[in-house]
Amino acid sequence: MEELRLKSYRFRAEREADWRALEAVLAKAEGRGAAALSDDQLLAAPVLYRSALSSLSVARATSLDQGLIDYLENLCARAYFFVYGTRSTLLERIGRFFARDWPAAVQGLWRETLVSFGLTLTGAVAAYVLVIRDPDWFAAFVSPDLAQERGPGASTAALRATLFGKRGDASELSTFATYLFTHNASVALFAFALGFALCLPTALLLTATGCMLGAFVALFVTHGLGVEAGGWMMIHGVTEISAIILAGAAGFRIGTATAFPGDRTRLQSATAAGRQAGVVMAGVLVMLLCAGALEGIGRQTIQSTPIRYAVAGATALVWLTYLYLPRARSQADGRR
């Protein structure tokens, strides 16, 4: 058979083996991760990637085989995402997140956090005052499925029973606790996502959450159970409500960055805010998990009000020092 004299054909015939090798490496890495590659393959990958890139440049300049150019563009893009993809291991990433990124992001949002806290507090105080004056307001703030048997009509004994679960109905309580956890985690995510809609919906949601809290406290106070209810709520509430407030702050940051981008374009501004808020939100999730654990385990096993307050105070102290204690500057720079 007569040798084909097209230069582009010879070019392709000479390099095709390299492309196939790169394709095999990529198929393996995309399927089971970089860990599945052998040492040889791992070392070969960047070399093969660069040779494929140079092939692409040559092919664009000299070859008119469109099938080949399409293939090379696709192959190079896949290889690019692999070669320049995430390098740090998950463990390193998690370590840096807890050591530096999370507290730094939270400190960066202090203004938004104050606003967020203020709104929740305002809601709580307003609802508290209203329900103390007229218990009928309770229904306006708390949805029936969240209130369950707690309501203005409930007897003091029934309310006391909800605070100090007996061994027998622990299972019922844990179902309710799980429901509350998923509900509150959704509220946190929601407060964050709504921030994109220019802050106002987040403000409403935070105020409503505050109202709900205030109404609950007021209900128990009217039955003379204020102190006990505080312990019941605070043992995990400190963590959980802080998480919701931080999520709201993250939402505010995104909303303000989108509404008032300053010198940057709206898109750049939103992306920069999103990066910071994302770190805070990952932290919020950790806090929610802690809150879930405190709620599911701590509240069921610890039945004494002073100890509940002690745990609540300890968690508040831990979160405040961890998130807001200034870090040594050199350490922060060294890790970067």
């Binding site: 095709e16 196939r20 320049y84 993809g85």
Partner: protein, 301 residues
């Protein structure tokens, strides 16, 4: 990392190939090569989401049935409530982490995106971080779950009006990808990501290999080869790849008329086109080496 602000391909550059579809964006690697990535279409993204959503829904229904069956089998109140706790947690995890978990894998795509050949990438060409993936999916709360809750809400009178306005308000976020140049949804805007086409493409056979056997017997003059440019060559490549007899006949007829050749009974239309393809490509690639890319037949030879 050397990345240029994404912009549409300038009109003066090389024209997109005949087979090109979709919107292309510049992505310059640190080596200085433009990867010329393709954005996913809004329809593809909607399709991927529907597939993912169906998978989630089926998984939830199956798990619910399974756990309900297990709960009835235990026949105790405690067993039932433990199952309820498990179910609530699974719902929560599925709803919030289905997308995150799949996009954290090396393919950076959920099953729906994989089926349609899409992937998530960082818009600045840098690394796709876990934070970005988390943020882009946390935004689904606003784009999916809130509109859904409005859609399933019931009310009359003032409530109905509030729900209607809520739907209108949510529509702004739901249809956001249709109204910006890079087809970004709210989550993409905030997380600094976009969704690209990344199918696994096979290396198509070189059409010249099959065709050059015929090329020996049919010789074209230079004037005959100067009739067409690169664009027409690529159309011809597509025609030869498909190899449908009726198209071949029609295209061969057009080319013969253009270059002023009579049909030769010794060669089939396919053989004629094969030969013309190899000869034209040889001619155009030869000119390319001398720095002359003839874009199409209207370009000066």
């Amino acid at each position: 990392m050397a990345v240029v602000e994404p912009r549409a391909r300038p009109a003066a550059g090389p024209p997109p190939p005949a087979a090109a579809r979709g919107v292309r964006r510049e992505l310059i690697t640190p080596e200085g090569v433009d990867l010329d990535v393709q954005l996913a279409d809004a329809s593809e993204r909607a399709g991927a989401f529907l597939i993912d959503f169906s998978i989630m829904a089926v998984a939830m229904i199956l798990l619910t049935i399974l756990i309900a069956a297990a709960a009835t089998a235990t026949r105790s109140k405690t067993g039932g409530s433990v199952m309820m706790v498990v179910l609530l947690l699974i719902w929560f995890l599925l709803r919030n982490f289905y997308f995150v978990a799949f996009e954290l894998t090396p393919r950076a795509a959920t099953p729906g995106k994989r089926i349609l050949g899409l992937r998530v990438a960082a818009r600045d060409g840098g690394r796709l971080t876990a934070d970005a993936i988390f943020v882009r999916n946390a935004m689904r709360e606003l784009e999916v779950y809130l509109p859904a809750s409005f859609l399933f809400a019931r009310g009359s009178g003032v409530d109905a009006w509030i729900i209607l306005m809520g739907i209108g308000w949510c529509a702004v976020f739901v249809f956001l990808p249709l109204f910006n140049r890079d087809k970004l949804r709210a989550g993409d805007i905030v997380a600094g990501t976009w969704v690209l086409k990344a199918p696994r493409r096979k290396l198509a056979p070189d059409m010249a290999v099959k065709a050059h056997v015929a090329a020996r017997d049919i010789v074209f003059s230079q004037r005959e080869l100067d009739a067409y440019g690169v664009k027409e060559l690529q159309v011809l490549e597509e025609v030869l790849r498909r190899y449908e007899p009726r198209t071949l006949a029609a295209v061969a007829e057009r080319i013969r008329a253009k270059i002023g050749r009579q049909p030769d009974p010794r060669f089939s239309d396919g053989a004629f086109l094969d030969a013309y393809y190899v000869a034209l490509r040889g001619r155009l690639e030869h000119r390319l080496l001398f720095g002359r890319r003839r874009r199409d037949k209207f370009d000066a030879p």
